[in-house]
Protein backbone atom coordinates (compact mmCIF):
# COMPACT_ATOMS: atom_id res chain seq x y z
CA UNK A 1 0.00 0.00 0.00
CA UNK A 2 1.13 3.47 -0.65
CA UNK A 3 2.93 5.01 2.23
CA UNK A 4 2.98 8.63 3.19
CA UNK A 5 6.21 10.53 3.55
CA UNK A 6 5.82 10.37 7.30
CA UNK A 7 5.56 6.61 7.26
CA UNK A 8 8.51 6.25 4.99
CA UNK A 9 10.45 8.56 7.24
CA UNK A 10 9.69 6.45 10.27
CA UNK A 11 10.56 3.35 8.35
CA UNK A 12 13.88 4.79 7.26
CA UNK A 13 14.58 6.04 10.73
CA UNK A 14 14.11 2.56 12.04
CA UNK A 15 16.37 1.08 9.42
CA UNK A 16 19.09 3.69 9.84
CA UNK A 17 19.01 4.92 13.39
CA UNK A 18 22.53 6.26 13.12
CA UNK A 19 21.78 8.52 10.18
CA UNK A 20 20.69 12.04 10.78
CA UNK A 21 17.46 12.09 8.78
CA UNK A 22 15.18 15.07 8.98
CA UNK A 23 11.60 15.33 7.88
CA UNK A 24 10.95 18.83 6.73
CA UNK A 25 8.13 20.72 5.18
CA UNK A 26 7.29 24.22 4.13
CA UNK A 27 4.08 26.15 4.53
CA UNK A 28 2.81 25.01 1.16
CA UNK A 29 3.19 21.85 -0.77
CA UNK A 30 4.73 18.54 0.08
CA UNK A 31 7.14 17.50 2.82
CA UNK A 32 10.52 16.00 2.14
CA UNK A 33 13.26 14.10 3.91
CA UNK A 34 16.71 15.52 4.18
CA UNK A 35 19.54 13.04 4.10
CA UNK A 36 23.20 13.76 4.78
CA UNK A 37 25.29 13.44 1.66
CA UNK A 38 27.58 10.74 2.95
CA UNK A 39 24.68 8.36 3.54
CA UNK A 40 22.77 9.19 0.40
CA UNK A 41 23.94 6.39 -1.81
CA UNK A 42 23.46 3.74 0.81
CA UNK A 43 19.95 4.91 1.55
CA UNK A 44 19.16 5.22 -2.14
CA UNK A 45 20.02 1.60 -2.64
CA UNK A 46 17.88 0.70 0.31
CA UNK A 47 14.99 2.72 -1.05
CA UNK A 48 15.19 0.93 -4.33
CA UNK A 49 15.67 -2.59 -3.05
CA UNK A 50 13.67 -2.73 0.14
CA UNK A 51 10.65 -4.86 -0.42
CA UNK A 52 8.32 -2.44 1.34
CA UNK A 53 9.52 0.60 -0.52
CA UNK A 54 10.60 -0.44 -4.00
CA UNK A 55 11.28 2.97 -5.37
CA UNK A 56 12.11 1.73 -8.81
CA UNK A 57 12.12 5.06 -10.60
CA UNK A 58 13.80 8.32 -9.99
CA UNK A 59 11.37 10.77 -11.51
CA UNK A 60 13.37 13.88 -11.15
CA UNK A 61 16.60 15.12 -9.71
CA UNK A 62 16.97 18.86 -9.40
CA UNK A 63 19.72 21.03 -8.11
CA UNK A 64 18.92 23.89 -5.78
CA UNK A 65 21.02 26.74 -4.50
CA UNK A 66 20.49 28.23 -1.07
CA UNK A 67 22.74 31.24 -1.00
CA UNK A 68 21.55 32.24 2.47
CA UNK A 69 22.84 29.11 4.01
CA UNK A 70 25.69 28.81 1.52
CA UNK A 71 24.37 25.45 0.52
CA UNK A 72 23.80 23.53 -2.61
CA UNK A 73 21.27 20.76 -2.65
CA UNK A 74 19.64 18.20 -4.83
CA UNK A 75 16.01 17.27 -4.60
CA UNK A 76 15.15 13.77 -5.74
CA UNK A 77 11.61 12.72 -6.41
CA UNK A 78 11.16 9.00 -6.26
CA UNK A 79 8.32 6.91 -7.31
CA UNK A 80 7.41 3.29 -6.78
CA UNK A 81 5.52 1.93 -9.73
CA UNK A 82 4.04 -1.07 -7.97
CA UNK A 83 3.45 0.38 -4.54
CA UNK A 84 2.31 3.71 -5.81
CA UNK A 85 4.06 5.89 -3.25
CA UNK A 86 6.22 8.87 -3.96
CA UNK A 87 8.90 10.52 -1.93
CA UNK A 88 10.89 13.71 -2.05
CA UNK A 89 14.42 13.68 -0.76
CA UNK A 90 16.90 16.44 -0.35
CA UNK A 91 20.60 16.16 0.03
CA UNK A 92 22.37 19.33 1.05
CA UNK A 93 26.05 20.06 0.81
CA UNK A 94 28.09 23.18 1.50
CA UNK A 95 28.95 25.37 -1.45
CA UNK A 96 32.61 25.04 -0.67
CA UNK A 97 32.56 21.27 -0.93
CA UNK A 98 29.66 20.34 -3.19
CA UNK A 99 30.27 16.62 -3.38
CA UNK A 100 27.37 14.23 -3.44
CA UNK A 101 27.66 10.55 -4.21
CA UNK A 102 26.22 9.67 -7.57
CA UNK A 103 23.24 7.36 -7.73
CA UNK A 104 23.75 6.68 -11.41
CA UNK A 105 24.43 3.03 -10.65
CA UNK A 106 21.14 2.74 -8.83
CA UNK A 107 18.85 4.61 -11.17
CA UNK A 108 20.29 4.98 -14.64
CA UNK A 109 18.19 8.00 -15.26
CA UNK A 110 20.27 9.88 -12.71
CA UNK A 111 23.01 9.99 -15.31
CA UNK A 112 21.69 12.96 -17.24
CA UNK A 113 19.94 14.55 -14.32
CA UNK A 114 23.17 14.63 -12.38
CA UNK A 115 25.03 16.02 -15.33
CA UNK A 116 22.45 18.74 -15.51
CA UNK A 117 22.78 19.53 -11.81
CA UNK A 118 26.52 19.67 -12.27
CA UNK A 119 26.16 21.91 -15.28
CA UNK A 120 23.74 24.31 -13.67
CA UNK A 121 24.88 24.33 -10.06
CA UNK A 122 28.36 22.92 -9.95
CA UNK A 123 27.39 20.04 -7.73
CA UNK A 124 29.95 17.29 -8.11
CA UNK A 125 28.67 13.77 -8.14
CA UNK A 126 31.29 11.36 -6.93
CA UNK A 127 31.33 8.16 -8.87
CA UNK A 128 29.45 9.46 -11.87
CA UNK A 129 30.91 7.78 -14.96
CA UNK A 130 30.73 10.73 -17.29
CA UNK A 131 30.35 13.98 -15.44
CA UNK A 132 30.41 16.54 -18.21
CA UNK A 133 28.36 19.61 -18.84
CA UNK A 134 25.21 18.72 -20.63
CA UNK A 135 23.35 21.84 -21.67
CA UNK A 136 26.06 24.46 -21.66
CA UNK A 137 29.21 24.17 -23.73
CA UNK A 138 32.06 22.37 -22.02
CA UNK A 139 34.09 25.53 -21.61
CA UNK A 140 31.32 27.69 -20.24
CA UNK A 141 32.21 29.59 -17.10
CA UNK A 142 30.11 29.58 -14.01
CA UNK A 143 27.00 27.72 -13.01
CA UNK A 144 24.02 29.48 -14.44
CA UNK A 145 21.31 28.56 -12.00
CA UNK A 146 23.18 29.61 -8.92
CA UNK A 147 21.63 32.70 -7.49
CA UNK A 148 24.85 34.64 -7.60
CA UNK A 149 25.65 33.71 -11.18
CA UNK A 150 27.14 36.38 -13.34
CA UNK A 151 27.23 35.57 -17.03
CA UNK A 152 30.56 35.71 -18.69
CA UNK A 153 30.91 38.68 -20.95
CA UNK A 154 31.91 36.92 -24.06
CA UNK A 155 32.10 33.38 -25.19
CA UNK A 156 34.44 32.37 -28.00
CA UNK A 157 34.56 35.97 -29.07
CA UNK A 158 30.82 36.34 -29.13
CA UNK A 159 29.33 39.00 -26.97
CA UNK A 160 26.88 37.36 -24.64
CA UNK A 161 25.06 40.50 -23.69
CA UNK A 162 21.95 41.56 -25.42
CA UNK A 163 22.24 44.97 -26.92
CA UNK A 164 19.00 46.59 -27.55
CA UNK A 165 18.33 47.84 -30.99
CA UNK A 166 16.11 50.78 -30.79
CA UNK A 167 14.88 53.04 -33.45
CA UNK A 168 15.33 56.68 -32.77
CA UNK A 169 12.31 58.53 -31.66
CA UNK A 170 11.77 60.57 -34.73
Amino acid sequence: MAKSTQEIFDYLKAAYPEVDLVLESAKLGDPWITIPAEHWKKIAKFLRDDSDLRFDTLMCLSGIHYPDEVLLAIACHLHATEKGHTLAIKVKVPESNPNIPSVESIWKTADWHEREAYDMFGIIFDGHPDLRRILCPDDWEGFPLRKDYVPQESYMGINTKYTEVEASDD
Binding site: K27, G29, I64
Partner: protein, 379 residues
Protein backbone atom coordinates in the same frame (compact mmCIF):
# COMPACT_ATOMS: atom_id res chain seq x y z
CA UNK B 1 41.18 11.29 -46.51
CA UNK B 2 38.38 10.19 -44.26
CA UNK B 3 39.72 9.21 -40.95
CA UNK B 4 39.10 5.70 -39.97
CA UNK B 5 40.34 4.98 -36.54
CA UNK B 6 41.96 1.70 -35.90
CA UNK B 7 42.61 1.07 -32.30
CA UNK B 8 44.66 -1.89 -31.29
CA UNK B 9 43.43 -5.08 -32.78
CA UNK B 10 39.79 -4.18 -32.84
CA UNK B 11 38.06 -3.56 -36.10
CA UNK B 12 38.36 -0.14 -37.66
CA UNK B 13 35.71 2.28 -36.56
CA UNK B 14 34.44 5.50 -37.99
CA UNK B 15 33.10 8.31 -35.86
CA UNK B 16 30.36 10.23 -37.52
CA UNK B 17 28.36 13.19 -36.33
CA UNK B 18 24.69 12.90 -36.90
CA UNK B 19 23.34 16.36 -36.38
CA UNK B 20 22.90 18.96 -35.08
CA UNK B 21 21.68 19.67 -38.57
CA UNK B 22 20.41 16.41 -39.80
CA UNK B 23 17.02 15.60 -41.26
CA UNK B 24 16.15 12.86 -38.85
CA UNK B 25 17.31 14.20 -35.54
CA UNK B 26 14.08 16.11 -35.02
CA UNK B 27 15.74 19.36 -34.24
CA UNK B 28 19.19 20.19 -33.08
CA UNK B 29 20.23 16.95 -31.55
CA UNK B 30 23.73 15.81 -32.21
CA UNK B 31 24.57 12.15 -32.04
CA UNK B 32 28.17 11.17 -32.03
CA UNK B 33 27.95 7.76 -33.59
CA UNK B 34 30.76 5.26 -33.70
CA UNK B 35 30.31 2.97 -36.64
CA UNK B 36 31.78 -0.32 -37.56
CA UNK B 37 30.78 -0.42 -41.18
CA UNK B 38 27.13 0.45 -40.87
CA UNK B 39 26.90 -1.11 -37.46
CA UNK B 40 26.52 1.26 -34.57
CA UNK B 41 28.91 0.44 -31.79
CA UNK B 42 28.28 3.46 -29.66
CA UNK B 43 26.10 6.53 -29.59
CA UNK B 44 26.72 9.61 -27.54
CA UNK B 45 23.94 12.17 -27.65
CA UNK B 46 24.99 15.78 -27.27
CA UNK B 47 22.24 18.15 -26.35
CA UNK B 48 21.98 21.78 -25.39
CA UNK B 49 21.83 23.38 -28.80
CA UNK B 50 18.36 24.65 -28.08
CA UNK B 51 18.93 25.52 -24.46
CA UNK B 52 16.86 28.59 -23.77
CA UNK B 53 17.23 28.79 -20.03
CA UNK B 54 13.63 28.04 -19.17
CA UNK B 55 14.52 27.57 -15.54
CA UNK B 56 16.51 30.75 -15.31
CA UNK B 57 13.71 32.61 -17.02
CA UNK B 58 11.19 31.13 -14.68
CA UNK B 59 13.16 32.47 -11.76
CA UNK B 60 13.47 35.93 -13.21
CA UNK B 61 10.28 36.94 -14.97
CA UNK B 62 7.88 39.15 -13.11
CA UNK B 63 5.49 36.67 -11.61
CA UNK B 64 4.10 33.15 -11.72
CA UNK B 65 1.66 33.95 -14.48
CA UNK B 66 4.43 35.06 -16.78
CA UNK B 67 6.01 31.64 -16.68
CA UNK B 68 3.16 30.06 -18.61
CA UNK B 69 4.12 31.32 -22.05
CA UNK B 70 7.60 29.93 -21.48
CA UNK B 71 6.27 26.51 -20.64
CA UNK B 72 4.58 26.51 -24.04
CA UNK B 73 7.92 26.90 -25.63
CA UNK B 74 9.47 23.88 -24.04
CA UNK B 75 7.55 21.27 -25.91
CA UNK B 76 6.11 23.34 -28.65
CA UNK B 77 4.40 20.35 -30.17
CA UNK B 78 2.20 19.85 -27.14
CA UNK B 79 2.01 23.30 -25.64
CA UNK B 80 -1.41 22.75 -24.09
CA UNK B 81 -0.14 19.83 -22.08
CA UNK B 82 2.83 21.80 -20.88
CA UNK B 83 0.58 24.59 -19.68
CA UNK B 84 -1.73 22.11 -18.12
CA UNK B 85 1.11 20.64 -16.12
CA UNK B 86 2.28 24.00 -14.93
CA UNK B 87 -1.09 25.35 -13.89
CA UNK B 88 -1.89 22.11 -12.11
CA UNK B 89 1.36 22.37 -10.20
CA UNK B 90 0.62 25.93 -9.19
CA UNK B 91 -2.96 25.17 -8.27
CA UNK B 92 -1.86 22.29 -6.14
CA UNK B 93 0.74 24.46 -4.47
CA UNK B 94 -1.70 27.25 -3.76
CA UNK B 95 -4.65 24.98 -3.22
CA UNK B 96 -6.86 26.64 -5.76
CA UNK B 97 -10.12 25.02 -6.71
CA UNK B 98 -10.84 25.17 -10.41
CA UNK B 99 -14.38 25.45 -11.80
CA UNK B 100 -15.88 22.36 -13.40
CA UNK B 101 -16.18 23.89 -16.80
CA UNK B 102 -12.56 24.88 -16.79
CA UNK B 103 -11.51 21.34 -15.93
CA UNK B 104 -13.51 19.96 -18.81
CA UNK B 105 -12.21 22.48 -21.28
CA UNK B 106 -8.68 21.82 -20.13
CA UNK B 107 -9.07 18.10 -20.52
CA UNK B 108 -10.54 18.44 -23.99
CA UNK B 109 -7.78 20.79 -25.01
CA UNK B 110 -5.14 18.52 -23.55
CA UNK B 111 -6.52 15.48 -25.33
CA UNK B 112 -6.85 17.30 -28.62
CA UNK B 113 -3.28 18.36 -28.18
CA UNK B 114 -2.30 14.81 -27.44
CA UNK B 115 -3.83 13.73 -30.72
CA UNK B 116 -2.09 16.55 -32.53
CA UNK B 117 1.20 15.66 -30.97
CA UNK B 118 0.89 11.95 -31.67
CA UNK B 119 -0.06 12.72 -35.23
CA UNK B 120 3.12 14.64 -35.62
CA UNK B 121 5.07 11.90 -33.93
CA UNK B 122 3.79 9.09 -36.12
CA UNK B 123 4.02 11.29 -39.20
CA UNK B 124 7.63 12.19 -38.66
CA UNK B 125 8.40 8.64 -37.71
CA UNK B 126 7.20 7.58 -41.14
CA UNK B 127 9.17 10.40 -42.63
CA UNK B 128 12.32 9.14 -40.96
CA UNK B 129 11.76 5.82 -42.60
CA UNK B 130 11.23 7.36 -46.00
CA UNK B 131 7.44 7.46 -46.13
CA UNK B 132 6.71 11.03 -46.95
CA UNK B 133 3.05 10.90 -47.73
CA UNK B 134 1.55 9.69 -44.44
CA UNK B 135 3.26 12.63 -42.84
CA UNK B 136 1.21 15.06 -44.89
CA UNK B 137 -2.00 13.15 -44.37
CA UNK B 138 -1.64 13.34 -40.63
CA UNK B 139 -0.65 16.95 -40.86
CA UNK B 140 -3.94 17.70 -42.53
CA UNK B 141 -5.69 16.32 -39.48
CA UNK B 142 -3.41 18.17 -37.15
CA UNK B 143 -4.28 21.41 -38.89
CA UNK B 144 -7.91 20.86 -38.01
CA UNK B 145 -7.01 20.61 -34.35
CA UNK B 146 -4.91 23.72 -34.57
CA UNK B 147 -7.86 25.51 -36.13
CA UNK B 148 -9.95 24.58 -33.13
CA UNK B 149 -7.26 25.88 -30.83
CA UNK B 150 -6.85 29.04 -32.78
CA UNK B 151 -10.50 29.86 -32.55
CA UNK B 152 -10.46 29.62 -28.81
CA UNK B 153 -7.03 30.77 -27.81
CA UNK B 154 -5.98 32.91 -30.73
CA UNK B 155 -2.81 31.01 -31.47
CA UNK B 156 -1.97 27.91 -33.39
CA UNK B 157 1.16 26.71 -31.70
CA UNK B 158 1.96 28.49 -28.46
CA UNK B 159 -1.38 29.11 -26.89
CA UNK B 160 -0.85 30.59 -23.47
CA UNK B 161 -4.43 29.56 -22.95
CA UNK B 162 -4.52 28.19 -19.44
CA UNK B 163 -3.74 30.32 -16.47
CA UNK B 164 -3.40 29.61 -12.81
CA UNK B 165 -6.91 28.99 -11.57
CA UNK B 166 -8.68 29.07 -14.89
CA UNK B 167 -8.36 29.91 -18.51
CA UNK B 168 -7.31 33.10 -20.18
CA UNK B 169 -10.63 33.22 -21.98
CA UNK B 170 -13.65 31.13 -22.60
CA UNK B 171 -13.82 28.83 -25.59
CA UNK B 172 -15.22 29.90 -28.87
CA UNK B 173 -18.95 29.47 -29.47
CA UNK B 174 -18.32 26.84 -32.11
CA UNK B 175 -15.97 24.88 -29.94
CA UNK B 176 -18.29 22.04 -29.14
CA UNK B 177 -19.51 21.66 -32.67
CA UNK B 178 -16.04 21.83 -34.18
CA UNK B 179 -14.62 19.30 -31.79
CA UNK B 180 -17.43 16.84 -32.34
CA UNK B 181 -17.04 17.23 -36.05
CA UNK B 182 -13.34 16.66 -35.79
CA UNK B 183 -13.63 13.50 -33.73
CA UNK B 184 -16.18 12.14 -36.15
CA UNK B 185 -14.04 12.69 -39.22
CA UNK B 186 -10.85 11.71 -37.53
CA UNK B 187 -11.64 8.08 -36.77
CA UNK B 188 -11.62 6.92 -40.41
CA UNK B 189 -8.30 8.67 -40.84
CA UNK B 190 -6.75 6.48 -38.18
CA UNK B 191 -7.86 3.44 -40.15
CA UNK B 192 -6.36 4.89 -43.25
CA UNK B 193 -3.10 5.52 -41.45
CA UNK B 194 -3.11 1.94 -40.20
CA UNK B 195 -3.46 0.63 -43.71
CA UNK B 196 -1.05 2.99 -45.31
CA UNK B 197 1.73 2.90 -42.78
CA UNK B 198 1.27 0.78 -39.68
CA UNK B 199 0.74 -2.54 -41.38
CA UNK B 200 2.86 -1.83 -44.40
CA UNK B 201 5.31 -4.67 -44.53
CA UNK B 202 8.29 -2.50 -45.26
CA UNK B 203 7.41 -0.33 -42.32
CA UNK B 204 7.11 -3.39 -40.13
CA UNK B 205 10.45 -4.66 -41.37
CA UNK B 206 12.04 -1.40 -40.46
CA UNK B 207 10.57 -1.16 -36.98
CA UNK B 208 9.92 -4.62 -35.60
CA UNK B 209 12.70 -6.08 -33.41
CA UNK B 210 14.52 -2.76 -33.59
CA UNK B 211 15.62 -0.81 -30.54
CA UNK B 212 14.15 -3.21 -28.05
CA UNK B 213 13.63 -1.66 -24.66
CA UNK B 214 12.91 -4.21 -21.94
CA UNK B 215 10.44 -3.05 -19.28
CA UNK B 216 12.99 -3.30 -16.47
CA UNK B 217 15.41 -1.06 -18.26
CA UNK B 218 12.64 1.35 -19.11
CA UNK B 219 11.72 1.73 -15.46
CA UNK B 220 15.29 2.06 -14.37
CA UNK B 221 15.71 4.86 -16.85
CA UNK B 222 12.44 6.36 -15.66
CA UNK B 223 11.10 6.29 -19.18
CA UNK B 224 7.53 7.39 -19.44
CA UNK B 225 4.74 7.86 -21.90
CA UNK B 226 4.55 5.74 -25.03
CA UNK B 227 8.17 4.73 -24.61
CA UNK B 228 7.37 3.02 -21.34
CA UNK B 229 4.01 1.72 -22.48
CA UNK B 230 5.56 0.38 -25.63
CA UNK B 231 7.54 -1.92 -23.38
CA UNK B 232 4.35 -3.33 -22.00
CA UNK B 233 4.22 -1.44 -18.73
CA UNK B 234 0.68 -0.31 -18.14
CA UNK B 235 1.46 3.01 -16.60
CA UNK B 236 -0.34 6.19 -17.38
CA UNK B 237 -0.65 9.00 -14.90
CA UNK B 238 -4.12 9.77 -16.15
CA UNK B 239 -5.19 6.39 -14.89
CA UNK B 240 -2.74 5.44 -12.18
CA UNK B 241 -2.44 8.76 -10.51
CA UNK B 242 -5.31 10.77 -11.85
CA UNK B 243 -5.03 14.51 -11.93
CA UNK B 244 -7.55 17.05 -13.02
CA UNK B 245 -10.75 15.10 -13.74
CA UNK B 246 -9.31 12.15 -15.56
CA UNK B 247 -10.77 9.72 -13.06
CA UNK B 248 -14.20 10.45 -14.49
CA UNK B 249 -13.51 9.09 -17.93
CA UNK B 250 -13.57 5.63 -19.25
CA UNK B 251 -10.60 4.86 -21.42
CA UNK B 252 -7.92 2.25 -21.87
CA UNK B 253 -4.20 2.42 -21.70
CA UNK B 254 -2.81 0.82 -24.83
CA UNK B 255 0.44 -1.00 -24.26
CA UNK B 256 2.90 -2.67 -26.55
CA UNK B 257 2.37 -6.37 -26.99
CA UNK B 258 5.06 -7.33 -29.41
CA UNK B 259 2.42 -7.91 -32.03
CA UNK B 260 4.76 -8.01 -34.98
CA UNK B 261 8.12 -8.16 -33.29
CA UNK B 262 9.72 -8.18 -29.88
CA UNK B 263 8.03 -6.53 -26.95
CA UNK B 264 9.33 -3.00 -26.60
CA UNK B 265 10.54 -2.46 -30.14
CA UNK B 266 10.05 0.61 -32.27
CA UNK B 267 6.81 -0.67 -33.73
CA UNK B 268 5.31 -1.13 -30.29
CA UNK B 269 6.16 2.40 -29.32
CA UNK B 270 4.61 3.56 -32.54
CA UNK B 271 1.41 1.58 -32.22
CA UNK B 272 0.89 2.80 -28.67
CA UNK B 273 0.70 6.31 -30.03
CA UNK B 274 -1.74 5.39 -32.73
CA UNK B 275 -4.00 3.58 -30.30
CA UNK B 276 -3.77 6.39 -27.82
CA UNK B 277 -5.27 8.74 -30.34
CA UNK B 278 -8.29 6.52 -30.39
CA UNK B 279 -8.48 6.64 -26.59
CA UNK B 280 -8.16 10.40 -26.62
CA UNK B 281 -11.12 10.56 -28.96
CA UNK B 282 -13.09 8.59 -26.40
CA UNK B 283 -12.13 10.97 -23.63
CA UNK B 284 -13.03 13.97 -25.75
CA UNK B 285 -16.43 12.57 -26.56
CA UNK B 286 -17.18 11.88 -22.92
CA UNK B 287 -15.92 15.25 -21.84
CA UNK B 288 -17.96 17.08 -24.45
CA UNK B 289 -20.99 15.23 -23.24
CA UNK B 290 -20.44 16.09 -19.60
CA UNK B 291 -19.10 19.60 -19.98
CA UNK B 292 -21.23 22.28 -18.30
CA UNK B 293 -22.35 24.80 -20.86
CA UNK B 294 -22.12 27.83 -18.68
CA UNK B 295 -19.60 29.05 -16.22
CA UNK B 296 -17.08 31.78 -15.72
CA UNK B 297 -13.68 30.44 -16.56
CA UNK B 298 -11.98 33.29 -14.77
CA UNK B 299 -13.84 33.16 -11.50
CA UNK B 300 -11.12 31.50 -9.47
CA UNK B 301 -8.20 33.21 -11.06
CA UNK B 302 -6.26 35.03 -8.36
CA UNK B 303 -5.75 38.68 -9.15
CA UNK B 304 -2.25 38.32 -8.03
CA UNK B 305 -0.51 35.12 -7.17
CA UNK B 306 0.72 35.35 -3.61
CA UNK B 307 2.76 32.53 -2.26
CA UNK B 308 4.34 31.42 0.93
CA UNK B 309 7.43 29.26 1.14
CA UNK B 310 6.65 25.85 -0.15
CA UNK B 311 7.54 23.24 -2.67
CA UNK B 312 5.64 21.00 -4.95
CA UNK B 313 6.42 18.36 -7.47
CA UNK B 314 3.46 17.88 -9.74
CA UNK B 315 3.40 15.60 -12.71
CA UNK B 316 1.09 15.18 -15.59
CA UNK B 317 0.98 12.93 -18.59
CA UNK B 318 1.92 14.71 -21.76
CA UNK B 319 2.05 12.96 -25.11
CA UNK B 320 5.71 12.30 -24.52
CA UNK B 321 5.40 11.05 -21.01
CA UNK B 322 5.56 12.31 -17.52
CA UNK B 323 6.08 16.03 -17.26
CA UNK B 324 6.99 17.12 -13.77
CA UNK B 325 7.25 20.64 -12.49
CA UNK B 326 9.23 21.07 -9.33
CA UNK B 327 8.46 24.49 -7.99
CA UNK B 328 9.90 26.06 -4.89
CA UNK B 329 8.11 29.20 -3.88
CA UNK B 330 9.00 31.84 -1.39
CA UNK B 331 7.29 35.05 -0.44
CA UNK B 332 8.33 36.90 -3.57
CA UNK B 333 6.17 37.07 -6.64
CA UNK B 334 8.23 34.69 -8.71
CA UNK B 335 9.39 31.14 -8.28
CA UNK B 336 12.49 30.62 -6.22
CA UNK B 337 13.28 27.59 -8.27
CA UNK B 338 11.38 26.01 -11.07
CA UNK B 339 12.53 22.84 -12.67
CA UNK B 340 10.82 21.06 -15.45
CA UNK B 341 11.33 17.34 -15.61
CA UNK B 342 10.94 16.92 -19.31
CA UNK B 343 9.89 13.49 -20.56
CA UNK B 344 11.90 13.82 -23.76
CA UNK B 345 15.03 14.56 -21.79
CA UNK B 346 14.70 11.38 -19.80
CA UNK B 347 13.58 9.26 -22.72
CA UNK B 348 16.44 10.44 -24.86
CA UNK B 349 18.92 9.44 -22.19
CA UNK B 350 18.20 5.81 -22.87
CA UNK B 351 19.06 6.09 -26.53
CA UNK B 352 22.63 4.79 -26.09
CA UNK B 353 21.30 1.80 -24.20
CA UNK B 354 18.92 0.65 -26.89
CA UNK B 355 20.77 1.56 -30.03
CA UNK B 356 23.97 -0.38 -29.54
CA UNK B 357 24.46 -2.99 -32.20
CA UNK B 358 21.82 -1.68 -34.53
CA UNK B 359 22.42 -0.36 -37.99
CA UNK B 360 22.80 3.25 -38.94
CA UNK B 361 19.32 3.20 -40.47
CA UNK B 362 17.87 1.70 -37.32
CA UNK B 363 19.28 4.52 -35.33
CA UNK B 364 17.05 6.83 -37.31
CA UNK B 365 14.08 4.64 -36.53
CA UNK B 366 14.95 4.48 -32.85
CA UNK B 367 15.32 8.21 -32.49
CA UNK B 368 12.03 8.65 -34.30
CA UNK B 369 10.26 6.13 -32.10
CA UNK B 370 11.37 7.85 -28.92
CA UNK B 371 9.70 10.96 -30.25
CA UNK B 372 11.79 13.67 -28.76
CA UNK B 373 11.17 17.36 -29.03
CA UNK B 374 14.41 19.15 -28.67
CA UNK B 375 12.77 22.20 -27.19
CA UNK B 376 11.85 20.07 -24.27
CA UNK B 377 15.09 18.15 -24.04
CA UNK B 378 17.10 21.31 -23.76
CA UNK B 379 14.46 23.52 -22.25
Amino acid sequence: MIEIVQKGKSRPEMVINMGPQHPSTHGVLRLEVTLDGELVTHVRPHIGYLHRCFEKYGESVGDYGMVTPFTDRMDYVSAMNQEHGYVIAMERLLDIEVPERVEYIRVIMAELQRIASHLLAVGTFGLDLGAFTPFLYVFTEREKILDIFEKSSGARLLYNYMCIGGLMRDVDDDFKKDTEEFVRTFRPKITELQNLLTYNSIFIKRTAHIGVLPPKVALNYAASGPVLRGSGVKWDLRKNNPYSIYDRFDFDIPVGEGEVGTLGDCWDRYIVRVLEMEESCKIIEQALEAMPDEGDVQQNVPKRVRTKPGEIYARTETPRGELGYYIISDTSAKPYRIKARAPSFVNLSLLPAISRGSLMSDLVAIVGSIDIVLGEVDR
